[in-house]
Amino acid sequence: MSLSADEIKKIAHLARLSIQTENTADYAKDLSGLLDLVAQMNQLNTESILPMAHPLDQKQRLRADEVTEINQRDRFQAIAPAVEAGLYLVPKVID
């Protein structure tokens, strides 16, 4: 399995991850190598096997529907790169 530089660009866009154009060939080579390694799984017939998501096959635990968290907006925003009047600042989205 081999990925092209264009496919890498597409995946990088999906991941919202800028990568240097001069590095795309390296990523294509590394990922293609990794996909070859991953393809070894296809030697196994897994048709009737249930997928395993949690090592102990635990179900998601439920809790009582009660408020347990207090509002800590100021503390959380104290470490944000750009805030104003309690809002996170981002480039303009709507004109």
Binding site: L17, L34, L44, T46, R63, I79, Y88, V90
Partner: protein, 484 residues
């Protein structure tokens, strides 16, 4: 010298007033600064450590102090510490001071420990050599031209060089056991769900598990009793009572059945490492244990399954780093997409990007069944292999690494070769089992680790089996010459 003492001995020394916590803390802080060239620490918390030590001494004086009062230790830099930077070895979090604290950090602090600082690691715990850290590689105390291993390289190196009596780490695919083996210290990865993941920066959530490094299994037993336990704040934490791990050390090994997977002990195993492990196995036989060969053919598929599951989960977990709420933000973003893409592109290192790309591809439309779902099915086959094995044996023993510590820079150009070196450790994470690495000898003056794999929640038995070996051998007591 007091810094050669184990944590167990230090507890006694503090209680009998042979040394104060302030003296002990100052001694370790001095050693950390003196050996800064190892690059084991990202942040050293001198002022807070001395303040904590002073408080510990008062408590010890009053006589109502919890067991670990005054014991210095250090955390891998992905456990969130309130008021102290948690970098995760990344430029992304170089400025990140968590507004909350990891449960593990809280538990150890409440037990009276003194925090010396935060330890170096591969960026976001992705790597096997600590060369992926934004803060540079950690040197191996046995030979500073070699890697310390990863991702918890700083933790292993700091314990080996006696810069701290113990350290926390995390293990997603071998990140505690492999550096423990490379640096000649004891390391434990507990059962998945045994230790809270709350406040641990996530890499691959269905595999990540916090654990410990120390000189001995006995030290780890004492610390694990404090660190383990159910935590409502971690939705994957398992509600299962925590035994006193120290109480069962010293149990007899007669009749113990040790399983040896034939897929690991074969012609591919490095001969020198194989010889070391054989000596260790002979020691267990002398202690009355029985060796049994077990097949476990599915273990060969652990690496492919792991790199799908780990990368897929990493790409989802690391989506939170967006340049908006915390962490690195690029200069002058053109629009929202540019803000996300450039903040992430400028702040993540190559290995992290590689795994995000792999994970994004595996989860992208049309590929889910072929990759993530397939890998989860293979994962079950691997777990079933272990289940069957534990019907025949009490513990499984295996190598930890295919070689001793390799040279810094030796493998960075070939990521696939680096991945393949995790062959002996990864299956344990997929199955969610507990496992240890303990020092078992040397090849060319570099340490070799023996891996012990236990059944679910069998940490007590694992620690006892390791402790029995450490009562009969002295590999775990050896300190690198430059740090004696």
């Amino acid at each position: 010298m007091i810094y050669h003492q184990t944590l167990t001995e230090l507890i006694k020394a503090l209680r009998s007033k042979k040394i104060s916590s302030v003296e002990l803390t100052r001694l370790y802080l001095d050693r950390i600064h003196q050996h800064a060239d190892l690059n084991a620490f990202i942040t050293v918390t001198d002022t807070q450590a001395l303040a904590d030590a002073q408080r510990a001494d008062q408590q010890l004086h009053q006589g109502n102090a919890p067991l670990l009062t005054g014991i210095p230790l250090a955390h891998k830099d992905l456990f969130c510490t309130q008021g102290i930077r948690t970098s995760c070895g990344s430029k992304m979090l170089d400025n990140f001071i968590a507004p909350y604290q990891a449960t593990v950090v809280d538990k150890l602090a409440n037990a009276g420990t003194v925090l010396l600082g935060k330890l170096n690691m591969d960026e976001f715990a992705m790597g096997s050599s600590n060369e992926n850290s934004f803060y540079g590689a950690v040197a191996n105390p046995w030979d500073q031209t070699k890697v310390a291993g990863g991702s918890s390289g700083g933790s292993a190196a700091a314990v080996a060089a006696r810069l701290t009596p113990a350290a926390t780490g995390t293990d997603t695919g071998g990140s505690i056991r492999q550096p423990a083996a490379f640096c000649g210290v004891s390391g434990l990865k507990p059962t998945y769900g045994r230790v809270s993941r709350y406040g641990m920066v996530a890499y691959a959530s269905s595999l990540d598990q916090g654990g410990l490094f120390a000189q001995t299994a006995e030290d780890i037993a004492i610390l694990l009793s404090v660190m383990a336990g159910f935590d409502a704040k971690d939705s994957t934490s398992v509600d299962c009572p925590v035994p006193d791990y120290h109480a069962t050390l010293g149990n007899d090994l007669r009749g113990l059945k040790i399983g040896l997977p034939t897929v690991f002990f074969n012609a591919n195993l490095n001969r020198d490492i194989g010889d070391c492990l054989q000596q260790a196995l002979n020691e267990y036989q002398r202690a009355g244990a029985e060796l049994i060969e077990i097949a476990m053919p599915m273990l060969e598929y652990a690496i492919p399954a792991y790199y799908v599951i780990a990368c897929a989960e990493c790409s989802a977990n690391l989506a939170r780093f967006d340049g908006v709420r915390y962490g690195y933000r690029c200069q002058h973003p053109q629009d929202l997409t540019d803000l996300y893409s450039r903040s992430r592109g400028e702040a993540f290192g190559t290995e992290v990007k590689r795994r995000i790309l792999m994970g994004t591809y595996a989860l992208s439309s049309g590929y889910y069944d072929a990759y993530y779902l397939k890998a989860q099915k293979v994962r079950r086959l691997i777990a079933e292999d272990f289940k069957q094995a534990f019907e025949q044996v009490d513990v499984i023993m295996a190598p930890v690494t295919p070689t001793t510590a390799f040279g810094i820079g030796e493998k960075v150009q070939d990521p696939i070769q680096m991945y393949l070196a995790d062959i002996y450790t990864i299956a344990v994470n997929l199955a969610g089992l507990p496992a240890m690495s303990i020092p078992a000898g040397f090849v060319n003056q570099l340490p070799v680790g023996l891996q012990l794999i236990g059944n679910y929640f069998a940490e007590s038995s694992l620690l006892n089996i390791a402790h029995a070996y450490q009562q009969r051998t002295n590999w775990h007591q050896l300190c690198p010459p430059a740090f004696r």
